[in-house]
Symmetry: C2
Subunit: 345 residues, 2 copies
Amino acid sequence: MIMEISCPTPHNRYDKIILAHGSGGRLSDRLIHDIIIKELDKAYIDSSHDGAILEIPGKLAFTTDSFVVSPLFFPGGDIGQLAVNGTVNDLVSCGATPLYLSLSLILEEGLLINELAQVISSMAAAATRAGIKIVTGDTKVVEKGKADKIFINTTGIGSVAGNRSISPYRCMAGDKIIITGTIADHGISILSTREGLSFESPVTSDCAPMNEIAELIFSATDDIHVLRDPTRGGIASALNEISHTSAKEIIIDEASLPFKEQVKGACEIMGMDPLYLANEGKLLVFLPDKHADSVLKAIKSHPLGREAAIIGRVSNGEPGVKIKTLVGSTRIVDMISGEQLPRIC
Amino acid sequence: MIMEISCPTPHNRYDKIILAHGSGGRLSDRLIHDIIIKELDKAYIDSSHDGAILEIPGKLAFTTDSFVVSPLFFPGGDIGQLAVNGTVNDLVSCGATPLYLSLSLILEEGLLINELAQVISSMAAAATRAGIKIVTGDTKVVEKGKADKIFINTTGIGSVAGNRSISPYRCMAGDKIIITGTIADHGISILSTREGLSFESPVTSDCAPMNEIAELIFSATDDIHVLRDPTRGGIASALNEISHTSAKEIIIDEASLPFKEQVKGACEIMGMDPLYLANEGKLLVFLPDKHADSVLKAIKSHPLGREAAIIGRVSNGEPGVKIKTLVGSTRIVDMISGEQLPRIC
């Protein structure tokens, strides 16, 4: 009875996103303050403006990524965690220390507000873990059937130390190539969730921020040539891009590739090539041979780098990626030409 | 006949976006280089990396916006032009000189590649006009029915001159308020296109970059308190936000509001309140009374500022926006609570 005469509290009346949440008016304001900024909590710096004003020491790294992964939640992560770590890892791949993120949401009418809150809360935790702050944002709502629940864009700013120069153009003959851990975990996690496959030991995504690993690498030596996070398209696509950009040959030793046993099994069952499957918490590191052992040791000292391995080398041969197989033959690992797995990130 | 035995040129085989364009493999590469980077032409700086490395003088402004406007093309502009100018104008509203943009695309399977090329070419023209460079990007593809043709995120970086401080918190009693031109043009352009309405003289969107206008303003005086581009939610929402952020009363004089005749007519026919309709090439300027006339003169010297007018003032009264109507009464202009016009930008 009392309830009926109490004041209306409009932001509690909705358990789903409606178009008016994107109007730029009162409901937009409530959604942004009562859900998004509230869930972001300490991961957000309020600027109450159309943009943030920042001071960045040194050179600046700038990178953008939109996330459309399906399903939103998967073993080992969710779209929010992916959206933070993905952009953090792109900044790390530029040799930068991640500092600030923008957050832009496209929401589908009918999305459960609880699901949104869960995703945002997950972003807050990921941002805190990676030591990055969300400083500006935008929210749009589209009609039911015109998007798929939540699409997230994060754009990142990082600071690059004075004389550091990390770039695929710096891939050089004689470089050793390190991967910081097991491959294909994220791809298999998404794929097995989508296909409803379950394994004895579940395959979880490797979604994680690589900034601490990068700090350990740079504390071992500043003489790093290329860093790359091998996401969509897997290590095959990342290595091909670096090979063709630098016009160098890359040779990978199959026996040295670190795998989780259950990932290897899942790839065999589903007929997937793990070289093309996405990773969301790994770095490829290209560096002079003489630093390879000390950097490998530094990476292995971190919980996220325990399975790190030297997986190959760079030579002056014909550009392209070759793999020495377990049986001793050599095969070319080309760029993927069709679509192996849509909406992996 | 010759055609049949000629080499296949895969990027020409597709006139529509397919999922493999988002794979991170060969087709993604072709789409990015042969369509997107080609159309961006001189508006793009190639970094061939996951991100761009930039040097920014002074403090940095950082702002993000996703664009989901429907239809993609409308009288006076398109989603590409809007995506550049929208973020340029958010940077201008921070008191910044726009410098760099990121460009992130979410494409729906089945989108005509010609439509994409047209949008990107339009972005290139808008970026060139605003003197901003696109430096990094991302492209995702989702299945047909999981998006609506094209969604675009642009995130912008600008440079803020040393002691400049533009913020809604600096709205002060005694400030005059200038609008740089006629209101509601963008809203009416979209709405009449959607409804299939045609007027004797067509209503075109005001979509335009405000950076030159801002330069003229600052060349008249550095003593500017607030700049704001009144987009989604119109001048009513922008003024309410500034009023409540600064805890000041804003009083607008209805007779002073500049309108295009056909916009006024369209609003009457469709029963829309122009105060709530979006503008995409206008600035609200809050500044001390003593500079109002010289700044107004400076704005009017620019082709985009011919219809500029002083439309109101700030006082120490109760926070909120009031309008003195043509008949002499005063009414409260509240924030919009429902949705007037979804997907306006």
